[in-house]
Amino acid sequence: MTVPQPAPPPAPQRPARSLLGWETTILALVAVALLVGSTLSDAFLTGANLSNLASNLVEIALIALTMTLVVIAAEIDLSVASIVGMCSALLGVLWAAQVPMGLAILGALGLGALAGLLNGWLVTRLGLPSLAVTIGTLALYRGLAYALLGDRAVADFPPFWTNLGFGLVPGTQLPIPIVAFVILAVVTAALLHATPFGRSLYAIGANEVAARFAGLRVGRTKLLLFVLSGLMSAFAAVVYTFRFSSARADNAVGLELSVIAAVLLGGVSIFGGRGSVIGVIAAVFLIGIIQNALTLADVPNEILTIVTGLLLILSVLGPNLAARVRAARQRRSTLAGPKGGAP
């Protein structure tokens, strides 16, 4: 590392290459997974199965969109699954109290935004690390979910709304929530990759001090990110509640780890400043496809868990090892080349 090297050539080409490289790799992996899946089982490449597969992923996919933004800005939100549980519980409570469904949904979304606001306030105003804050609110929001609903379940949602959760767009095999996801994914990708706001996230994640000196409103941006993350979790809560037609305090327990696994597998750097929406979406579907294909091939569930973990590790370890080999080779060639010079 401390070995003096001709800095200019590797520096500009490396980030671009590794980013594009990883996206291409993961899209290729998706294609391979689809191919292998179709050879493992005839039932795999059917509209009904793919529709079911997409439907099962939708909450993780939704939350992964805003988590991508949060992690690119070098923060993290571990409280997302608890926000899902809390908002789902509120939706159930409001509906059980005969509040009109439209208002109940608005209430759930408002609570999600508020939860995100508290996270963001603690991180930006008190300057606490987001990992610590959101471990705290993970416990708090899940606790509030139980306070709202106890261990009861509200299940008697009207068919019109539950159909939005698990129904298909008429005449197609597309689950309705996936349509909402596609729209939100396009909006998020545009926001991240085509607006000054998106660019500011990369700048903040890469070097917060420099970003502040460059005049970016770091605190306000991060606050907005946490609010968006809370709002998206609340939306995922509405989808989850209608899809299973059940509001429970323990809805989506543990989902935060799946979301973060997908975001990291998608090539977003945990240290911020790097990543793309396409990569994350590809990663969400890669995990989903592998799990679905292996399930259809009667591979036991525990293997799925192991594969998910290994993929996550290899997604970072692979490029790292490749870079080390490349660096070692380069060093050897520079040492063998011109003699003398340098220290």
Partner: protein, 342 residues
């Protein structure tokens, strides 16, 4: 290795070192909160201080307090170990299966097996982080899944029950010396060993150096890679020991044992003043953090807080503890800075 240090004289070395430490640093405010909480709870419900309920409290806290020792080593170096819960689950089941396979096996062998398996799993984390350059959050989130998957594959729907275990092993968890459960004494011994090690040994100080400034540590001649690897191996070994104790305490273990424990452990460390940003914290503080969370939990039960509100109150208090701790620390730092400018 260092075991001789504390087992020779646990009562002699522990109290003075611990006491001076407690009243010097952040631990002091935690102790005050703890005492106030205990006093208020005991005033409302005297049964809170009964021998039986104190015993249950200590037993409940001890496993988290043990795992948090290893987590502290890792957090000090600005890393994190999310896989401890999976390591605990896997070692609990594997050491239980050893008893099933050889019913006459001596009990100490289960402890050795737990330590060994845990250390091996921790080494996987350590190699990934130290030499594979995988960020700890990613590496240990990955192994959290992998180890748990292996756990499910090994268990395959079965479970270990108390009837599979030799009576002497289960008796270890319920046994006590001078009224203090032996399980709690074992955890205290580990805490004292690591407390002394981190404070007074060169290699112990290296954890702080690595977490405060990696480059400076490197320039100072510290082998950072080896230190990080050792930290993860120790964290794994301690989680493995905790798995054996979990088995002894609960007797029944299935593949889901310990799920979600990692967040409790990190929460305890953070409340106890171990900084997630590395370089700051003590084993004593982390242990008090675990104790505080445990006391809050059982105080809410003793105060008859409505059952479904307890988790929310606990979450709010956790958040409050983190905030107050950091704000106070920052204010103190600012005061020091102002004084030096004058």
């Amino acid at each position: 290795m260092t075991t001789g240090l504390s087992t020779s004289d646990p009562a002699g070395t522990a109290p003075p070192g611990l006491l001076t430490r407690l009243f010097r640093a952040r631990e002091a405010s935690l102790i005050l909160i703890l005492l106030a909480l205990v006093a208020v709870t005991a005033a409302v419900n005297p049964r809170f201080l009964s021998a039986q309920s104190l015993r249950d409290l200590l037993l409940n806290v001890s496993i988290v307090a043990l795992v948090v020792v290893g987590q502290t080593l890792v957090l000090l170096m600005k890393h994190v170990d999310l896989s401890v819960s999976s390591i605990l689950g896997l070692t609990a089941f594997l050491s239980g299966s050893l008893f099933v396979a050889n019913p006459g096996m001596p009990i100490w062998l289960a402890f050795v097996a737990g330590l060994g398996i845990g250390a091996a799993l921790g080494a996987v984390n350590g190699l990934l982080v130290a030499y594979g350059r995988v960020p700890a959050l990613v590496a240990t989130l990955g192994t959290l899944y992998v180890f748990r998957g292996v756990d499910y594959a090994v268990v395959q729907g079965g479970q270990i029950t108390a009837s599979n275990l030799p009576p002497a092993f289960s008796a270890f968890a319920s046994g006590s010396v001078l009224g203090v459960p032996s399980l709690v004494l074992l955890v205290l011994a580990v805490m004292v060993i690591f407390g002394v090690y981190l404070r007074s040994y060169r290699s112990g100080r290296e954890y702080y150096a690595v977490g405060s400034n990696v480059e400076a540590a490197n320039l100072a001649g510290i082998n950072v890679g080896r230190r990080v690897l050792t930290g993860f191996v120790l964290s794994g070994a301690i989680a493995g020991l905790a798995g054996v104790l979990y088995l002894a305490r609960f007797g029944t273990v299935d593949a889901a044992a310990g799920t979600g424990l990692e967040l409790q452990v990190i929460a305890a460390a953070v409340v106890g003043g171990v900084a997630i940003t590395g370089g700051v914290g003590t084993v004593a503080g982390a242990g008090i953090g675990a104790l505080l969370l445990g006391v809050i939990g059982s105080a809410l039960v003793a105060l008859r807080a409505p059952a479904f509100w307890q988790q929310a109150i606990q979450g709010a208090l956790l958040l409050l503890a983190i905030s107050v701790d950091i704000v106070l620390a920052r204010r103190a730092a600012r005061r020091v800075q102002e004084r030096s400018h004058r």
